[in-house]
Symmetry: C2
Subunit: 271 residues, 2 copies
């Protein structure tokens, strides 16, 4: 369907937009089923947090109403919401009073092979390392060249995702997913204070695990800890949960907690 810019159908963007000039903005990728956006509160909360940290003026109520209207028109698919700092003059200095620009794009439902969820995926060992920038860590901002470079490291279809480490070789995330381990009954995911994107499905699964009485831990993860994990899986807010069965010479079985959380994620996305 048509894209919207600031609530109006549009297929083009001002050349002065700071999203283009500097990647000065944020985005959310939202699964939509039968006109309803999944995990909307979490997406909007993350966007609000990012807007606050980057001092981008946004109108949460307006964004929510536009996303709901756009999703209703889209039906089923993937809605991408881009929020930029709007048009800029020359130079990096932001105009503190400039209103944010809202861009909504609609895509068909994601067409990942069902086998990714059923049997699990093999992770490509990305050489690209995530840099440390606490001021941007966790945000889903528009500066994504590291992901572009990492994703260009493999072209085969054997690898459905790539594993990204940081510059101290900590295990952080996939290129477009968050990563979880299960170790002795504890659900573990990386601390994202230095780098990484704090995914909406990651937050939801931590919440769900807590509600189920499953202990969770957000911490630094070493490659040795990854190697000795009982279960490994990926998540994002479009595909839900993919078990990880292999990474380089390592392999893991698809475990019971992975399946349990996969079922929960599927139900949330199908709701």
């Amino acid at each position: 369907m048509d894209s919207w810019v600031d609530g109006q159908p549009a297929d083009a963007l001002s050349l002065k937009d700071r999203g283009l000039a500097y990647g000065d903005g944020l985005f959310e990728t939202i699964a939509v089923r039968d006109g309803r956006p999944s995990l909307l509160d979490r997406h909007l909360a993350r966007l609000a947090q990012g807007s606050s940290r980057l001092s981008i003026n946004s109108d949460p109520d307006l964004i929510r109403s536009e996303v709901l209207a756009y999703a209703a028109a889209l039906g089923s698919g993937v809605l991408k919401l881009v929020l930029t700092r709007g048009d800029g003059l020359r130079g990096y200095a932001p105009d503190p009073s400039a209103p944010a620009r809202r861009i909504l794009l609609g895509n068909p439902p994601a067409a990942y092979p069902a086998v990714h969820g059923e049997r699990g995926v093999r992770l490509f060992p990305c050489v690209t390392r995530l840099s440390h920038q606490p001021l941007l860590a966790g945000l889903k901002h528009l500066n994504r060249l590291e992901q572009v470079i990492a994703r260009s490291e493999w072209q085969d279809t054997e690898h459905a995702e790539g594993l990204m480490l940081d510059q101290a070789d900590r295990v952080i995330e996939g290129v477009f997913s968050n990563l979880f381990l299960v170790r002795e009954g504890v659900l573990v995911t990386a601390d994202l204070k230095r780098c990484g994107v704090a995914g909406v499905m990651r937050a939801e699964l931590l919440y769900q695990a807590d509600a189920l009485g499953i202990p969770t831990q957000i911490t630094d993860i070493t490659l040795e800890q990854l190697q000795s994990a009982d279960e490994v899986f990926l998540c994002n807010s479009v595909y839900g949960v993919w078990p990880v069965h292999a990474y380089a010479a390592l392999s893991w079985p698809v475990g019971p907690l992975t399946r349990k959380l996969q079922t929960i994620a599927r139900a949330l996305l199908d709701a």
Copy 2:
């Protein structure tokens, strides 16, 4: 004057452009005087190097001819050239065969106060630290949130620029300038292998100094070395050279090598 997209007058960009989606592209800011772009060979060489490092397909001859035609029409001002990876589908994976998109924007001549060049500037001590990413270091790419955040640290007009350190407190550059020191007759500038933008005027001044028999050094710079420098100055390809007279509690006189290189830069920009 009108902007151009892929050689045609246009005021808008496809919403699918990867420059917007991921900051997946490069840019050059070129001073134009009487229809002639300054330091064009250096700008185009840096763009070609960036395109090569990011595997963006670009056509150097086409870019050169468009820049020359646009500059001739602009007259005097500042030409901004943005090169993106073009439209993308969903996801980070680049299409290796996609042609780059060329965007040309024209602005009036920069209106910096003459006093910046005459008496020098005071540097704001930015708290924002540059992250280390060797895969992107040196490139003038579109992922510039660190500069946006750093530039938003001050609003007063007392500070014409800000000094950016890296996360190990090395002295790297200004927010929109490169930095030079003069120490015991040697012209020193930061090694940009971990972070920073390798400016076109920086390259030109290193070349000019070499031609004049002035020793040059590209190395890591500590705050102590900055403090004990005989001269400090900034440069970029729009304003040329600005002496630095103060930074926090530090101050420096405007020295003879600064003036000599400022005259050279001015002549290049006025040519």
